[in-house]
Structure formats: C-alpha cells, structure tokens
Amino acid sequence: MKESGRLVDRRAAVIGLLAGCTALGLAAVVRKPEGAELVRQMRRCLRGTDGLADAAVLARFRAEAEADFRAGRIVHRGGWYLSATEALLFERLRLF
C-alpha cells in the first residue's frame, strides 16, 4: 500500500474509503485532482452528512454492506462482487 497512490482504480478507491481503509482509498486514487473530485462526489451521494469525515455514516454504510453480504444481496458488476448498498452508490457515482 502506498500513499504515493500510483494506482488508478476509482472503484477500488471508493471501496477502500467506504470501508474506512483510508490508506487504501488514498493509494487507490491516483492523482489528487481526480481523488478530490471523487471524494466530493461521494459526499454528495452520502447526502446531508459530512461524508467521509463522518465516522458514523461510514460505520452505518459498512454495517449495511456487511448485512448485504450475509443475506446474499450481492451485485456482480464490472467484475466486482459488491453489496447491493455499494452497488447503488457506484451507480450514483457513475462508476459503471
């Protein structure tokens, strides 16, 4: 994992950020302009909160994703196995 962030993968970045894995999220967003824009978009999609700064929102999102996986609510898109909750966010972020 590198803070230099060589990797270009917005989907991986979003997954990492949503899961609270900031290092992964930052590493996966390669260039700061794109990364910053992605974070802004995520905040908008998470609605009415401080977005990524709001640990409670992330924790709730994470719990919903875990519940999705336990219940088998999986969406298979772009090769990824995503929870239904994540997939919805990905749609809003136009990652597919």
């Binding site: 060589r6 990797l7 997954i15 990492g16 899961a19 875990e66 336990r70 196995y81």
Partner: protein, 545 residues
C-alpha cells in the same frame, strides 16, 4: 553375506539373475548389463521408481518379498530418458516437462505439498457424474501417518486449530461456509536420493535403471500377465517374469503401456470396457480473481503461496511442519450449490500484474478509464524509472484456484497414431477436457468467498476470469498431477482396477499411483499416492504365496 552395496551403479556382474540367489553385488544396476534375451524372475515386478514404486518396493521388501523395479531413467536426468515422456497433447503443456524420467520419478521436481483427501472426496456425489470411490476414507486413513513420515512432514493433523499458530494467523471469516485449511510441506523429499541407500541395502530389491518396460505380455486367454518385456537404449532386451506386476509409472504411462500391449487383446490390457486412459484429471491453477483487502489489520501471509518457511508445531507437540493456509468450501456448500471440492491461495500482485488482471476483468474500457489507464501507464513508467525493484507490491492479491476436476470420460490418454518413442512404442496422445461443472465451481466459490470477505469487512473480490463469456483460456496452468486414467471401481464397467488396485479381469496385474483415483480432490496427490502404495503392499503381502 547378502546384499553388498557398492556406491554407484555398474553392469550386472552376476550370471544367475534370480533375486533369490544373493550372489549379486550391485542392487541398483543398469539394464544394459543384463544378458540379452534373458528372463529375470522375482515375486513382484514394479514398473516405475517414483513415489509409488519406491514406497511399494520398500514395503514389500519389509514383508520379505523379492522385488524388481524397472526404471526407464538413471540416477541423473538425461535427455534420452526425458524424451520417452514426450507425447501429443491437446490443451496441455508438453508432457516431458511434467514428468521426471529418473530414479525417484517426479518427486525429483516435486514442490512438496502434502494434504490428504477428505471424506467428501471418496463419496458419491449425485451432482458430480462418475464420482465416488469404491472405498471410503477409513480404508486409507491408517496409512496416512506412515505416509507422512515417508514424505518427511509433520504429524497427521490437518485441522489448523490444532496447530500452534500465532493469534491472527487465520482469517476471522466467521463463516460456516468458507473454511481455512492447511497444507504441510515436505522438504521436499526426493525419493531417488532419500531412499536410494535403503533400496540398495535391501537384499530383496533390485532396481534396473535405464530399463524401459515396453510391453505387458498377456497370456493366451487374457487372464494373466506372463512377463514384461524390457529394453535399454543400447538395444538390449530381456524379460521380467514375476508372480505379480505393478504399474507405477504415472497417470500417462500406466494407461499407455496397457493400451500399447495390444498383441493379444486388440484394445490393450485390461481395456475390455474402453476405460483405460479415460477420466484424465489434473488440478488447474487459475488466477481467477483479485482480492482487495479493506481491513488493513488483517494478515494474509499464511495464505500466500511460498509462505512455507514458517514452521509450526502441534499444540500437543510432536513433529513440526512447514505450513501454509488455504481457503475451501464447506461440504454443505458443495452439496447445496453443486460444486466440486475447491481450494484457493493468495499471491500479492505487482502493480503491473494488477493492472493486467483488472483490464481483463473490466473488458473494453470507458473513455474515462482509457484516459486514466493511459495516465496510469505513464505514471507507472515515471515512478518506476528510478526504482530498483520493478515488481512492487500493489496491496492487491490474486486468488489462485486449485480445485478438483470433474471426472470426464472425454478427457483421456490414447495412443498416438503417428509418433513412436525410441523403443517403437506409440507415444501418448493426451486430450485434456473440462466440463461446465469445473467452470461453475469457480464461479460459486468466488461468490462464497466474496460473501465471507464482505460480511466481515475483510475485503472485496473482483472476478478477473469470465469463463462463461470468454471460455477457457488457451493455456490453463496445471499442477502436473496426472490422475484418473486407470480409475478404481468395484464394477469393471465403471473402472479399470478393483478397490485393491488389481486390474479387473486379470489375476496378477496391479496399478499404483494417482491414475487409480476416481476423483482427485482439491489438492496434491503425493501423500495419498504413498498411503495407497502402503495399502497395496499390505494387500499383496497377504496374497502372494
């Protein structure tokens, strides 16, 4: 004094070649020195000095039986011997790269992975056509501990919870559907080195090197083998006459020799039901997906290929072992979702490998992705230009699948119509075929892994291999495990050998090795090959008079 051993090999220096006469000096000899057209007599003749052949020879000698072992190679690898392994292939790499024709057989390039077959592997599973061994695991279980010793691994214990692993070693999957299991690593044992001295010191075993079995001499009536024709590169030929014969030449050459011995029975020896050579199976090693860990605290080292350097002991003590973890599906998942047995390991990807797998997974890129991939490529070139290491880790892991292959009669070894080896024996033609069940197992397993990792916020999985859309890759990586071609069954119409390993319809011909496996489980066959060889030796010890 019996059984003098002199270092090295040399021509057979004695006239009376019966092993019952201890006049010989060299007990590992070159077949070139055997008097031409002579007949060597013994109780048991074994074809092949690999894991099965060497284990059998020692076990039979311990049971006070006289044994001749024929090995087509020498003590060192040689091109002329390796060339005997060459054959035609379909969807399979060159055969001579998958086998070692020398004393010790393919243990001489073995990776040392050991894991036993599971109870499920022996059972008939209605959703797996042609599945089911005629014996259950309890028939093999008594032999596994000794097999562990022969393979120089730890105690026969494969439950990771019983090993003294540091906290955090095993993934907290919290799932009853996906489990962690372990592999034990042999040093690996090179049977041709480790067991050379014991074999040469035994007065009951003579190994003929550079000696190739070219034909099984089927007696008129077709119920017995009268002898084995043997040949050497220098043109010498002689016969072995034994009470019992055991083919231990591997999953290609066991059926090949049976099929090529067609002078009495046109279809070959033991092939009345056209089963010899069918059901060939290996363990594919496919890079099937990428794992993106989202919990920075999880430790994946135990599951990574090449993590064998960590030696552990059982909580209860005993011999230590080098261990590696892997992931597998619960039996209930296999039943409910109709899969084969499955295992997965991890391997950290370099950034460039990750980019390649991701591109393969995502297919044609969008405009944005094309742009960013282009930037990525440029960025990578710039960032690695001053780097001393090209292969930097990405933090992503590929999931390497090694799973059972569905028994498939169309996956088979035949005789080449056109090609013959140095002794005029038709070369093998191997057609390796897959089924939808093989593909479906990968898909279901990844779905289950994705659930287990996702439900515990351990990671996400990206499928990198769309078999349904793209079909099987042109070159499916293999494990060099040649299984199934003389499969075991109580019914001669369903298998080539009976539950003891005796060829149906013949009184004195047996087969040892993974060619008798009706199904090959999700892992490595050597430990079970050795266990079954011990079982066969015990059986023969009670039947040869």
């Amino acid at each position: 004094m019996h059984g003098f051993y002199r270092t090295g090999i040399g021509p057979c220096a004695f006239g009376d070649l019966s092993l019952r006469d201890p006049g010989g000096w060299y007990l590992i000899v070159d077949g070139a020195g055997v008097p031409a057209r002579s007949k060597l007599s013994t109780e048991i003749c074994i074809v092949g000095a690999g894991a099965a052949g060497i284990t059998l020879a020692q076990a039979l000698a311990d049971l006070k039986m006289d044994v001749i072992v024929l090995e087509s190679g020498g003590l060192e690898p040689e091109d002329r011997a390796q060339d005997l392994a060459h054959g035609e292939t379909v969807h399979y790499p060159p055969l001579e790269t998958t086998r070692m024709r020398m004393f010790g057989g393919s243990t001489m390039h073995w990776g040392g992975w050991c894991r036993p077959l599971e109870a499920t592997d022996f059972e008939h599973r209605p959703w797996v056509p042609h599945s089911g061994w005629p014996i259950d695991r309890s028939a093999v279980l008594p032999y596994y501990p000794r097999a562990q010793e022969i393979c120089q691994v730890g105690e026969f214990q494969y439950d990771p919870e019983e090993w003294n692993l540091p906290p955090g070693t095993l993934l907290p999957l919290g799932s009853d559907r996906v489990h962690s299991r372990i592999i034990q690593f042999s040093p690996p044992t090179r049977f041709g080195i480790r067991y050379r001295a014991p074999l040469t010191q035994s007065t009951r075993i003579t190994v003929y090197l550079n000696t190739t079995a070219t034909r099984l001499k089927l007696a008129p009536g077709g119920r017995r083998i009268d002898g084995i024709a043997a040949a050497t590169f220098g043109g010498n030929t002689f016969d072995i006459v034994a009470k019992r014969y055991i083919l231990a030449g591997g999953g290609i050459d066991n059926p090949r020799l049976m099929l090529a011995s067609n002078d009495v029975a046109a279809a070959g020896v033991g092939n009345d039901n056209d089963l010899v050579g069918r059901f060939f199976a290996d363990h594919m090693q496919l890079d099937t997906a990428v794992l993106l860990p989202v919990d920075p605290k999880i430790d994946l080292r135990f599951y990574q290929l090449a993590s064998r350097s960590v030696q552990r002991r059982l909580k209860s003590g005993g011999r230590g072992a080098n261990l590696m973890g892997y992931l597998t599906l619960d039996k209930q998942v296999q039943e409910s979702r109709h899969t084969l047995n499955y295992s997965a390991n991890l391997f950290e990807l370099s950034e460039t490998d990750y980019a390649t797998m991701r591109a393969a997974a995502e297919g044609p890129a969008s405009g944005w992705d094309r742009l960013t991939r282009s930037i990525s490529g440029l960025w990578h070139q710039i960032s690695t230009a001053n780097s001393t290491s090209e292969n930097t880790g990405s933090g992503f892991y590929k999931i390497v699948t090694t799973q059972e292959q569905a028994p498939n009669p169309a996956s088979r070894v035949r005789l080449s119509r056109d090609e013959r080896d140095a002794f005029g024996v038709p070369r093998p033609l191997l057609e390796w075929r897959f089924t939808d069940l093989d593909r479906d197992t990968i898909e279901v397993a990844l779905d289950e892994l994705a659930k287990a990792f996702g439900a515990n916020s351990l990671g996400r999985i990206q499928y990198s291999l769309d078999l349904r859309k793209n079909g099987w890759p042109a070159n499916v990586p293999i494990s060099w495990h040649h299984c199934g071609t003389t499969r075991m069954s109580t019914d001669p119409k369903q298998g080539v050998v009976d539950p003891q390993g005796r060829v149906h319809g013949l009184d004195n011909l047996y087969v040892a090795g993974s060619s008798v496996f009706p199904t090959n489980g999700h892992g490595n066959p050597t430990l079970t090959i050795v266990a079954l060889a011990l079982r066969l030796a015990e059986h023969l010890g009670g039947t040869v008079t």
